[in-house]
């Protein structure tokens, strides 16, 4: 009894350290301490389990721990920040698979020894959710890494298929719960397969700007799978940690949905902005200079540029053509606006991330600062390819984090700014969201770039963003429009500013 009490105390201490670690995510320095606390808790948790259990097959355990750790460490030290979303999605998948494997063995063993109804139901839930998370995460990771078609793939009767698979997966789980004979293994395996197919079918129809919602949801389901797995193992630690992660993923999902003005159901059931389908029929590549990666442009919410690598080779230049009626030479007008800016706000969007224009952008921002301008970055919650992604990309490009400002805080400042520089962002600066009713983005919170005295737009083209809603900002007199690959547009501006400095 005293031994088990001691174990309970140890578990509680570990849970407390983990939760304190998450609670420290307030500022980057405190978050670094939080990560250390969480690392310590994880090491303690494993040590506590290994000390108290009988260890069979220690050679297998050692090899498995070594192989997994080295692979994780190797990958972690190699990825760059643009690859982070794909990497994290892949890890959600690994977590999901670990959860359904553990649940499978526990259910199998439980059938021999007999377990209660609640642990059994939890184990079955962990099995299904783990398998679905596993396959959906692999699809998400493939899409984020551009290995799979990043645009939504819609099958015939997609919604019915989703429903059918859900019913089949739950049906098999129930059958598994009622079976205890040798058929159990086969039924559970079938449940895993059906849940995995469900995960694939659910994930393929999500794409483009909806990816942050998908990755957040998978974060939550990986947590739920771990927590349910914890109930069948009767481990407080697993339940507490899993539930905390589930809560975290749910909060992030909610933040993403709110920032995109979409409900979770609409994202998963594939209710898409109606006008988008008419302007860009499925399967039709968006017009663009790159033959290599036409599909990417089509999904770019706010086309800021071409795919990695293809931008350098693209020969046809869509940029530099006079586009705004008020500016015969938009490039010269942009340079003028940049030189005169005292207070500049930069609005980076998903397109900037796709064009990988962050380093050119930061070097342009430096020139503005050297010129005496105050520069801030306005970060919309869905900028980038996962929650908070834009902040990490800009931090990697050496932007101090006190220049990265959240939407609600920066919005009143646009009125005072004499320059808003929009790079690869369309829907998130679309005034139609507040001015017009009945559009897919009506009511969506936006960055008020239109309030600035001059607005320089470095977007890929004048096509509407992911929502399919035309952007009145492009017609405003204050707007200077530079179409084309954002990296090239910014590079040209950088060169012109340098030239002007030398004169």
């Amino acid at each position: 009894m005293s031994a088990s009490t001691a174990y309970l105390v140890i578990d509680i201490v570990i849970i407390a350290v983990l939760i304190i670690g998450i609670g420290l995510f307030r500022t980057p320095p405190s978050a670094r301490r939080g990560t250390l606390a969480a690392s310590l808790a994880m090491i303690l948790a494993m040590a506590a389990v290994l000390i108290r259990m009988d260890i069979n097959r220690p050679e297998l355990i050692t090899v498995a721990l070594a192989v997994g750790s080295l692979a994780g460490l190797g990958l972690a030290l190699r990825v760059n920040m643009i690859q982070i979303p794909a990497m994290i999605a892949f890890q959600h998948g690994a977590g999901g698979m670990a959860a359904f494997l553990v649940s499978f063995v526990e259910l199998w063993r439980g059938a021999e020894t007999g377990i209660g109804a609640l642990p059994e139901v939890s184990g079955l839930a962990g099995l299904l959710i783990g398998a679905g998370t596993f396959s959906a995460s692999l699809v998400a990771s493939g899409k984020l890494a551009n290995l799979l078609q990043p645009r939504p793939t819609v099958l015939r009767g997609h919604r019915w298929l989703l429903l059918l698979l859900t019913v089949a997966a739950i049906g098999l789980a129930v059958a598994g719960g009622l079976t205890s004979g040798p058929a159990l293994g086969a039924i559970l395996a079938a449940a895993i397969v059906v849940a995995a197919v469900l995960g694939v079918v659910a994930a393929i129809r999500i794409g483009g700007a909806d990816m942050p919602v998908l990755i957040s949801t998978l974060n939550a389901t990986a947590g739920f799978a771990a927590a349910f797995c914890g109930i069948i193992l009767s481990s407080y630690l697993l339940v507490a940690a899993g539930a905390t992660v589930a809560a975290s993923g749910s909060v992030l999902t909610q933040v993403m949905c709110k920032a995109m003005n979409r409900s979770l159901l609409k994202v998963f059931a594939g209710v898409r902005p109606a006008s988008q389908q008419s302007s860009r029929p499925a399967g039709e590549p968006a017009p663009g200079p790159t033959a290599a990666g036409p599909s990417i442009e089509a999904i770019v919410e706010s086309s800021g540029g071409a795919l990695v690598g293809s931008s350098a080779e693209s020969s046809a230049e869509p940029s530099a053509e006079p586009s705004s009626p008020t500016h015969a030479d938009p490039q010269a007008a942009a340079v003028e606006a940049l030189k005169n800016a005292r207070r500049a706000i930069i609005v980076p969007g998903y397109g900037m991330a796709v064009a990988q224009a962050q380093f050119e952008l930061v070097s342009l921002a430096r020139k503005l600062q050297e010129n005496g301008a105050e520069v801030k970055y306005a970060i919309h919650p869905v900028a980038g390819r996962m929650p908070g992604h834009m902040n990490v990309l800009l931090a990697e490009a050496d932007v101090p984090y006190d220049q990265l400002v959240e939407m609600d805080e920066i919005n009143p400042e646009f009125k005072e700014a004499d320059l808003a520089l929009v790079v690869g962002a369309c829907d998130v600066v679309n005034p139609a969201a507040i001015e017009r009713e009945g559009t897919p983005i009506s009511g969506m919170p936006i960055l008020r770039a239109m309030d600035a005295r001059a607005v320089v737009v470095c977007n890929y083209d004048d096509k509407p963003g992911y929502s399919g809603v035309d952007n009145p900002l492009y017609e405003a007199d204050s707007s200077i429009l530079l179409w084309g690959d954002a990296k090239e547009s910014l590079g040209a501006l950088n060169a012109l500013l340098e030239e002007a400095e030398r004169m």
């Binding site: 849970i15 997994g68 920040m81 908070g388």
Partner: protein, 92 residues
């Protein structure tokens, strides 16, 4: 039975506490947060280790080994990436 009630209470309590804590995390840190929670969700590594607590059959040993590899890959990889990401953040 009491144990089950406590487990469910822990589940609900952690959900609520997690919700309160995470709601206060600034958007600046959302990516590192997801990376960290991803590592934490791989506490299933404990379950995978526990599979070896009683003598496993060959099939169970294979599944258990695979589960340990996947989970510890997440734990170590997730923590290392979170640390790397947070080091990029500097004050001006």
């Amino acid at each position: 039975m009491t144990e089950l009630i406590v487990l469910v209470a822990v589940f609900v309590g952690a959900l609520l506490l997690g919700y309160l804590l995470i709601s206060r995390v600034p958007q600046l840190l959302h990516t590192p947060l997801m990376s960290l929670t991803n590592a934490i969700s791989a506490v299933t590594v404990l379950g995978a280790l526990l599979l070896f607590g009683s003598r496993p059959s060959t099939a169970e040993a294979i599944i258990g080994t695979l589960a340990i590899i996947l989970a510890i890959f997440n734990v170590i990889g997730g923590l290392a990436i979170t640390g790397r990401m947070l080091r990029f953040f500097r004050k001006g």
